[in-house]
């Protein structure tokens, strides 16, 4: 049990453009360091005077040894974080949330399915599996995006081809796109899915999560072996503010990652 404290100052060690509205930011402690993060956990990132938002770690160790967060500019705070430059300081609290249950995944085929910026919280899972291939079965990475220009971590995805079965699909192809067009679940037909040996980890917009989880269970992957990362409004991240409730769950504490067996009955109740 820990007592909630103010954020710790972290300095921007590097930034990396991902898309027109998304950027990865590597943060190193300016003084004291937060406890280590696990894949799927998130930090509350504070932009000076603007606000604080939850952001999942998109890499546990960047090139400078820092935490990497991938931020999409959608609101005032995330836009301020998107505009950070090397040397700027932010406040950081964490780690928060459950993270992906990689113990449950060990020994299984790992199927990572991401929609849009949902790839960011899953990227550390791919890193972990690639680092310790013997601990896991086959690795599959399926990624859906709006357009080719909206694909994040694009160069890295190409590097995963080989050690992983990689599928990338977009809703709207542009000139020069030679990859697949369609929803990410269509890629499920084209990989050698072994439902009885597979653990699937899914992150993206909630509709994509529901559609994907149904496609997986329809192909025989048990719901408890489909982990999903959910999103609700979060203010405190410490289970005290009540905003992130999803029925019986406080998503900052009991999530954001939960088994689809628990998520499904909650996601089908409107306005829960």
């Amino acid at each position: 049990m820990s007592t909630v404290t103010p954020p710790l100052p972290y300095r921007v060690a590097a930034t990396e453009p991902e898309t027109a509205d998304t950027r990865s930011v590597e943060l190193v402690p300016a003084g004291r360091e937060l406890p280590p993060f696990s894949p799927g956990q998130f930090a509350m990132v504070y932009a000076f005077g603007v606000g604080e938002v939850p952001v999942s770690v998109s890499a546990l160790r960047g090139r400078h040894g820092g935490l990497v967060h991938t931020v999409r500019a959608v609101g005032a705070t995330s836009t301020a974080l998107y505009r950070l430059r090397e040397g700027d300081t932010v406040g950081l609290r964490g780690p928060y949330g459950t993270g992906w249950d990689l113990d449950a995944v060990a020994g299984h085929d790992v199927l990572v399915i991401a929609g849009g910026i949902g790839l960011a919280p899953l990227r550390p899972v791919v890193h972990t599996v690639l680092d310790r291939p013997a601990a896991y079965g086959r690795l599959g990475v399926l990624v859906g995006a709006r357009t080719p220009d909206d694909l994040i971590h694009r160069k890295e995805i190409d590097d995963w081809r080989g050690p992983a079965a990689v599928g990338v699909t977009v809703d709207r192809p542009g000139p020069g796109w030679h990859g697949a067009v369609g929803v990410v679940t269509a890629l499920l037909d084209r990989i050698d899915l072994r439902p009885d040996r597979t653990c699937a980890l899914v992150c993206g917009p909630e509709v994509m999560i529901r559609h994907t989880a149904r496609a997986l269970t329809g192909r025989g992957v048990p719901a408890h072996r489909v982990q999903v990362s959910l999103e609700r409004n979060m203010r405190c991240a410490t289970g005290h503010c009540g905003h992130c409730q999803l029925g019986p769950l406080l998503l900052c504490r009991d999530g954001p990652v939960i088994g689809y067996d628990r998520a499904e009955p909650l996601l089908t109740v409107r306005e829960l």
Partner: protein, 391 residues
């Protein structure tokens, strides 16, 4: 309970008992003030019995009662002069333990550095005088919410760990009370330093007082009191027992947690949504509602920023805001969130019900929505459903 460690530990079973008169009450306020406590208790102000800092026991609502109905609160004179024969007022102790507005931390740009500082003000040391049984349970519930999980809230922790609780058992329930249904009263549960039961009869106006902690016993020893006599003890117990029979409201005989989980699609939610104004009064007066939002401010130099925390309400449209809009846009969904959380999913999140049966949400609802009536209607619906639907 005064402890510097864990506010979730039950009170030690220290128990001294005495009987004292109104002079004992005056001495109690003095003794607590003398120990450095800011004494907070009920007093009459602006046509209500409010909780405020007390300088003397004379400020207690001697001779005041209340008439409570859905959407209605009225003070009335009591001929017996009793101080605590009145049910819950508009405030609860969360006003002091979990304040409506606190500065959590500040951030300063100093040269190239950014420095974050926790709010340095030392927490006030409160003695709460007259914590009703239902409210005593409400404090225990907020203890679990704010300090019982993986993270402890320092503001609550600081205020709570230094607080001295003088509970009072209920002998005069209001028309909106249902603590018996919720198992929280009218007798006081654990967690107090001292507990009082007020008796006014032919033998006079007196208080049966017992200690629930070492410090409570120390304070009790300082008071002008005499040994407890069985007549007072019996009269006090009889008063509490009689109160249990006079609850103004009852919850339906059902497992409320299951009832909430099984009625998410009940038409009754549309019915209550037609009445609810989503004003959030029920959440403000509820002694366990804990939700907050945050506000970030900067000064004119732009080099000093502060993080403030404010009470929030799940009835606010922005409460569930997510990217494009609120998750719970309809009144139906917001009332359902409040009630199913309070009576149902609170168990999943914090191991108990979130309702203590104090009735404040009924009294202070401007359109007289009654949580017990809504629960009963849901219960009736489950029983009237054809069997094939009743899953």
């Amino acid at each position: 309970m005064h402890t510097d460690t864990d506010v979730n530990t039950p009170a030690p079973a220290a128990s001294e008992e005495k009987v004292m008169g109104k002079d004992g009450m005056a001495a109690l306020v003095g003794a607590l003030t003398g120990r450095g406590y800011t004494v907070v208790g009920p007093t009459v102000r602006d046509g209500a019995i409010v909780l405020a800092e007390l300088e003397s026991a004379d400020q207690l609502p001697y001779g005041w009662g209340v008439e409570l109905q859905a959407g209605q609160y009225r003070l009335r004179r009591r001929p017996d002069g009793a101080a605590f024969a009145n049910a819950a007022g508009p405030q609860s102790w969360k006003t002091f333990l979990h304040p409506s507005r606190v500065r959590q931390w500040s951030a300063d740009r100093v040269g190239e550095e950014t420095v974050f500082t926790a709010d340095p003000s030392p927490p006030p040391r409160y003695a709460f005088l007259g914590v009703r049984s239902c409210d005593l349970r409400a404090v225990a519930i907020q203890d679990r919410v704010l300090t019982g999980g993986p993270h402890r809230d320092p503001v609550y922790q600081g205020r709570r760990s230094g607080a001295f609780l003088v509970a009072v058992e209920c002998t005069e329930p209001g028309g909106t009370c249902f603590c018996v249904s919720m198992g929280t009263g009218p007798a006081a549960g654990p967690g107090y330093d001292l507990v009082l039961t007020e008796v006014v009869d032919d033998d006079g106006h007196r208080f049966w007082i017992r200690s629930g902690s070492r410090e409570g016993a120390e304070v009790l020893a300082e008071l002008p009191a005499h040994p407890a006599d069985s007549a007072t003890r019996e009269a006090a117990r009889a008063g509490v027992t009689a109160a249990a029979e006079r609850m103004g409201r009852t919850m339906p005989e059902a497992d409320l947690r299951e009832l909430m989980a099984g009625t998410l699609d009940a038409p009754r939610w549309d019915d209550v949504a037609g009445r609810c104004l989503t004003c959030g009064n029920c959440t403000m007066v509820c002694p366990t509602c804990f939700c907050t939002t945050t506000e970030d401010v900067t000064d004119l130099t732009g080099d000093h920023a502060e993080r403030w925390r404010l009470w929030d309400s799940c009835f606010d449209l922005d409460f569930s805001h997510l990217h494009g809009g609120p998750v719970r846009a309809s009144t139906r969904s917001r009332y359902r969130q409040w009630m199913t959380h309070k009576l149902g999913t609170w168990y999943d999140q914090f191991g108990s019900s979130g309702c203590v049966g104090c009735g404040r949400c009924i009294v202070w609802c401007p359109v007289a929505i009654d949580i017990t009536e809504e629960a009963a209607a849901l219960h009736d619906w489950t029983r009237s459903r054809p069997p094939e639907d009743a899953s």
